[in-house]
């Protein structure tokens, strides 16, 4: 009953005109950002985060979450119309979405994707709303050793899944994040660490400055030679989905929802694996039509797109209840929560029920806005792709650096952002993922406090982490998740052995 009252309070907050407006702004900006190959959802959220600092926390989070799932759909538009996935999670849509567009069925592909996204978003939200109180109740039983184990799980799972094939590089990036988190005053002893006498460093490095630098500024350096795209033109009449395509959309959409949610709630797994897995399932279920996959099958668009959106929603479950991000973009959003003074974790639902439920309900409103917006307007959005990147990146850099300045009203923040931009670029250039750095930065202090408390409880005995069932289970899960990617790649090589699309694709993997 109490939960129902809290959900109703969240609903009331989510449907307020101001929050609907911010949701609309978020999904619209997200759609545009997602379409641009140089900007993924993580970059988009990092880039626009400073602009939300003056807003009420719920409105800001609604807008940022809108950017997240809006960009997932935007990435699909660019995948279908220019064979250039704006995000790695949309890459699989290329196999059938782009051939559909080449056959003059771009409308069918985009409409099917929009409907499947909506189905995936809605069903996963219902499950998320049912699961969240249970997950929170379990998480509330956690003590300091479990918190440390959870932080280790989060760091290793993200490092393992975003390492671009190299787990060692992922772990190195996470360790680097923990290192920079130790700059500043030690919370336990009050001792200044690695400050080199600079007063600015006493408070540590700001999350948001580092996030903007290492994701958004670094991406500008990486992408600055990219030119304009030439999207396939799609008329209003072509946007109509045929009855046959609609009929073939429903089942893959529901199957994709289940796959996406289950994989999305696993920390670090994210939407990319979910969409590839869903594609493979649809292919296996197609029977004699299996060989047609890769030539323009609507099931190859609907299933992955639904899984992608469901995984996006699912990734919020570990973020909100455990404080462990389920994906790269939720790692950035985790930073946003902290900026607004909210600590994602077991206590969040108990302490801020209106914000949590309001945010979750806004996902559904956002999905509805996306459906209404994108069914008729996808071709219009595609015109954004005609703007050359060379004219866009000065604006992106300005937003990044002026946004960094607005955090503290000091040039120091701007310099930190620029330095981390260069570090992020060098990391990406040499194959190091940047998301684990953010996670290390966020989870480092949590881990240190948990470690201090745990060792205090056990009088310095480190076996406390192995003797408590909760922490042992989490550490074993961490070990399993670390070993999972190589195993998955060995057992399930689909992602690498898909049919080549008819136009060479550029995938921005983050």
């Amino acid at each position: 009953m109490e939960t129902l009252t809290e959900i109703l309070a969240g609903l009331q907050a989510a449907v307020s005109p101001v929050n609907i407006l911010y949701c609309f702004v978020g999904v619209t900006l997200g759609t545009i950002i997602g379409m641009l190959p140089g900007l993924g959802s993580a970059t988009g959220v990092a880039l626009l985060l400073p602009l939300t600092l003056t807003l009420d926390p719920l409105s800001a989070l609604i807008m940022l979450a809108g950017i997240y799932y809006g960009s997932q759909y935007g990435a699909t538009i660019s995948t279908v119309l220019v064979a250039t996935p704006g995000d790695s999670s949309s890459a699989v849509v290329l196999f059938d979405g782009y051939p559909m567009a080449q056959q003059g069925r771009a409308g069918g592909a985009l409409a099917s994707a929009a409907i499947a996204s909506f189905v995936g978003g809605t069903t996963s939200l219902i499950v998320l709303m049912a699961a969240l109180p249970m997950l929170s109740a379990v998480a509330l039983q956690f003590g300091p050793p479990e918190t440390v184990a959870l932080a280790v799980l989060g760091l290793l799972s993200i490092a393992g899944f975003t390492g671009g094939g190299s787990l060692v590089k992922g772990i190195a990036a996470a360790a680097f994040g923990v290192l920079i988190a130790t700059i500043g005053l030690d919370a336990q002893s009050g001792q200044a660490r690695y400050t080199f006498g600079r007063v600015e460093l006493f408070g540590g490095l700001g999350y948001i400055e580092v996030i903007i630098g290492i994701i958004a500024v670094a991406e500008v350096f990486r992408q600055m030679g990219r030119g304009a795209e030439n999207p396939m033109t799609t008329g209003w009449r072509d946007m109509m989905i045929t009855r046959d395509e609609l009929r073939r959309t429903w089942r893959p959409a529901f199957r994709g929802s289940a796959i996406g949610f289950v994989l999305g709630i696993l920390p670090g797994v994210g939407a990319t694996l979910a969409s590839f897995f869903s594609y493979d399932v649809e292919k296996r279920l197609a029977g004699p039509r299996r060989h047609l996959f890769g030539t323009g099958m609507v099931e190859g668009v609907a299933g992955p797109e639904s899984a992608n959106n469901a995984a996006t929603n699912g990734s919020f479950a570990p973020t909100l209840t455990l404080g462990i991000p389920g994906s790269g973009t939720t790692a950035v959003l985790l930073g946003a929560f902290l900026v607004f003074g909210l600590q994602p974790g077991p206590l969040l639902l108990e302490q801020q029920p209106t914000i949590v439920w309001g945010l979750i309900i806004s996902f559904w409103i956002g999905n509805l806005i996306l459906l209404v917006l994108n069914l008729p307007l996808a071709p219009a959005f595609a015109y954004v792709l005609r703007v050359p990147y060379g004219l866009m990146y000065p604006f992106i850099l300005f937003l990044c650096l002026a946004g960094a300045y607005s955090l503290t009203n000091r040039m120091w923040s701007v310099w930190v952002t620029l330095i981390f931009g260069v570090i992020g670029f060098l990391m990406q250039r040499y194959g190091y993922p940047v998301i684990p750095v953010i996670l290390g930065l966020i989870l480092g202090p949590i881990m240190e406090t948990g470690l201090a408390r745990s060792l205090s409880i056990s009088h310095g005995d480190p076996t406390i982490f192995l003797t408590r069932p909760g922490s042992l289970a989490l550490l074993l899960l961490a070990a399993a998740l670390v070993m999972a990617p190589p195993l998955i790649r060995r057992i399930y090589p689909t992602a690498k052995s898909q049919p080549a699309p008819q136009k060479e694709a550029r995938v921005d993997s983050k």
């Binding site: 190299s166 060692v168 190195a172 290192l179 600055m224 030119g227 000065p394 990406q428 240190e448």
Partner: protein, 152 residues
């Protein structure tokens, strides 16, 4: 090697804060030392794997292949080498940020935009002036007027 150096340096410096507290409890240097050690170990592992790869493939180079894809060549007229452009952009940003307290953030950035569009991107003068003006207007309207950020 950079990772090994950073990790080792961090761990070494952590010694000054104390590796372990009383009764095996956490000291200010424990976590930095641990994280530094992990980073250094990862660095060693990366070096070893690069060396092994170089030996097995018969190539002498140990340098990692860039993970990020290079430009796809769709720019209308790439005026200069990508690496040079990145260096020039970085230099431009440094100059922009150093002059921002004197000229003002939006003015410095508008000048940087002009330089980027005209020189680095090889676009026309009018377009460069237009983009610089747009940045100035955008900064003034969004940050200074709407968000009331006192940009320098």
């Amino acid at each position: 090697m950079v990772l090994v150096a950073i990790g080792a340096l961090w761990s070494w410096e952590a010694g000054g804060y104390g590796y372990l507290g009383e009764e095996g409890r956490l000291a200010a240097g424990t976590l930095p030392a641990l994280a530094g050690a992990v980073l250094a170990l990862c660095g060693v592992a990366v070096c070893l794997s690069a060396l092994l790869r170089a030996r097995t493939s018969g190539r002498g180079a140990t340098r990692e292949e860039p993970a990020g894809k290079e430009e796809s060549g769709e720019s209308p007229r790439p005026p200069m080498d990508a690496r040079l452009r990145r260096v020039l952009l970085l230099c431009g940003l440094l100059v922009c940020l150093l002059t921002a307290p004197l000229l003002g953030f939006t003015v410095s950035f508008a000048l940087l935009t002009f330089f980027v569009v005209k020189v680095l991107e090889g676009r026309g003068l009018l377009l460069a002036v237009g983009c610089a003006g747009a940045i100035f207007g955008f900064g003034y309207l969004i940050f200074e007027t709407l968000l009331q950020v006192p940009l320098p």
